[in-house]
């Protein structure tokens, strides 16, 4: 891959703070083939159609040239990397203890807990001079909630954090396949994945026949019409739920705080009209989404997208965050408008693979940002842009230190 391909520039860490001009370039160029054979799609209409197209696979095994390191993974892929009908079966079994139709009140019942955890966190930093919105707030809230929901002991959070960081770092896109740092990240990520899956499998074993009120207990004990997950399926599913269940929400909350610190008018609007927060969170999911792309799709047959034929088995990368800023779909797309209507964003993807945890993320972000709003007036980021995390895929600040303006 030449170092100046668009995808190369998008994934270049130097552009992490503001990838949006590159997305505008991508939409302008249309569907573009990268020199490594991958295809980038960044326009709303095309992304929407592809997300609903049954000829598009999420199973990396259907790629002509799959990344070998992903195929070497020891565990079966979780439903995020599987197609229907298997995807549907795994997802339905996993949904049983999480949401409707079997457990309709589960997320609503968490609201009180989430509010209390949020208030405790805000109380603990009220008197501090220096607040890091990531470490002091955006991280501890979702990790506490997902541990409680799954049934992971809170004292193990440091382990979870180390494993998660290693796994996310291994999602990175390297300029050269033989890049030594990249190889090392892949190795560390694989090790962390194995360790986390083993840990969660062991934890589920201890709940078999001794259930506590959490999802691991339910998944290992309760069988619905589709039966139970196998132990291997449970391990990879629980790993997915644990990582995706907090990592993305950390970025959503941190991106939200940064957006409001940068836009005093929006902050004032939400302070005066707190009932706008659900809309504001949807707008945030459009404007600064935690997941910028779906890099793992592939066509099962040659398909035509906006006049370009994408061959069967090619790597297809859907740039969700670019579709969210497409002026053909959204009026004034670079403007953050908490009152925006007709906001069918790709913040949670779309189609059969749409985010499993979306309702939980919504509740957490709404409660967290509502609690933060009254405290943000007169504050500003100590650095703007703040230091970002490495990942171009799961994008958000590494730290967000705030100080008196």
């Amino acid at each position: 891959m030449r170092p100046d391909t668009l995808f190369q520039r998008i994934t270049d860490y130097a552009n992490r703070a503001d990838p949006y001009p590159l997305y505008a370039e991508l939409r302008e160029n249309g569907v573009t083939r990268q020199t490594d054979g991958g295809y980038l799609v960044g326009t709303y209409q095309e992304i929407a159609e592809l997300l609903h197209d049954p000829r598009i696979s999420s199973d990396i095994g259907n790629r002509t040239d799959p990344d070998e390191d992903i195929l070497r993974r020891p565990d079966p892929p979780a439903f995020i990397g599987v197609d229907d009908p298997e995807h549907d079966r795994l997802r339905r079994i996993t949904m049983r203890p999480f949401g409707p139709p079997h457990s309709p009140g589960r997320i609503d019942a968490l609201r009180a807990d989430i509010t209390r955890i949020t208030d405790d966190l805000i109380g603990s930093f009220r008197d501090k001079d220096r607040i890091d919105v990531v470490d002091d707030f955006a991280y501890p809230l979702p990790v506490t909630v997902i541990c409680r929901l799954l049934g992971v002991p809170f004292e193990d959070v440091p382990l979870i954090r180390a494993w998660t960081n290693a796994i996310i770092a291994s999602f990175d896109f390297a300029p050269e396949k033989d890049d030594r740092d990249h190889q090392e990240r892949l190795r560390a990520g694989m090790e962390a994945r194995i360790a986390m899956a083993e840990y969660l499998g062991g934890l589920a074993d201890t709940r078999r026949d001794r259930p506590t009120d959490d999802m691991l207990s339910a998944l290992v004990n309760d069988a619905g019409p589709d039966g139970r997950l196998t132990r291997e399926e449970l391990k990879s599913t629980a790993t997915l739920l644990l990582i995706a269940g907090h990592e993305t929400t950390v970025n959503l909350i941190a991106n939200g705080a940064l957006t409001l610190l940068r836009l005093p008018q929006a902050l004032r609007l939400l302070r005066d009209r707190p009932e706008l927060m659900p809309n504001a969170v949807e707008e945030l999911l459009r404007y600064e989404p935690p997941v910028h792309m779906l890099p793992q799709r592939t066509p099962l047959t040659d398909i035509e997208v906006a006049g370009v034929t994408i061959p069967k088995g090619a790597r297809l990368i859907l740039m969700l965050a670019s579709g969210n800023r497409d002026p053909l779909r959204f009026k004034d797309p670079d403007h953050f408008d908490p009152t925006r209507e007709d906001n069918q964003h790709f913040g949670f993807g779309s189609g059969v693979h749409n985010c499993f945890g979306a309702p939980l993320a919504r509740v957490e972000a709404q409660i967290a940002l509502s609690a933060l709003v009254p405290h943000l007036a007169g504050l500003r980021p100590a650095e703007d842009p703040p230091p970002y995390r490495r990942s171009a895929l799961l994008r958000g600040p590494r730290h967000l230190v705030i100080e008196r303006a």
Binding site: G99, P100, P104, D108, E275, P278, E282, P359
Partner: protein, 69 residues
């Protein structure tokens, strides 16, 4: 508060059934049942559900026949 769900738009993402489970209910995997006249204590949840609907199928009005918001 009165609500109408455009069932031609609804694609069973079920966000409403998570966010306002006393008003929106899934029967089986896909059939949505809902209470058109929203009880007073559920109004806030219904507004959150309407904002979250990925296909914007939930119309909220203050009373039946009123112009929807």
């Amino acid at each position: 508060m009165q609500i109408v769900v455009d069932l031609n738009r609804c694609q069973s993402y079920a966000q409403c059934a998570f966010l306002a489970p006393q008003v929106f209910e899934l029967h089986g995997e896909e059939a949505l049942m809902y209470t058109p006249a929203v009880p007073d204590d559920q109004g806030e949840r219904v507004r959150r559900a309407a904002a979250a609907c990925p296909v914007q199928a939930i119309l909220v009005g203050e009373r039946a026949g009123a112009r929807v918001r």
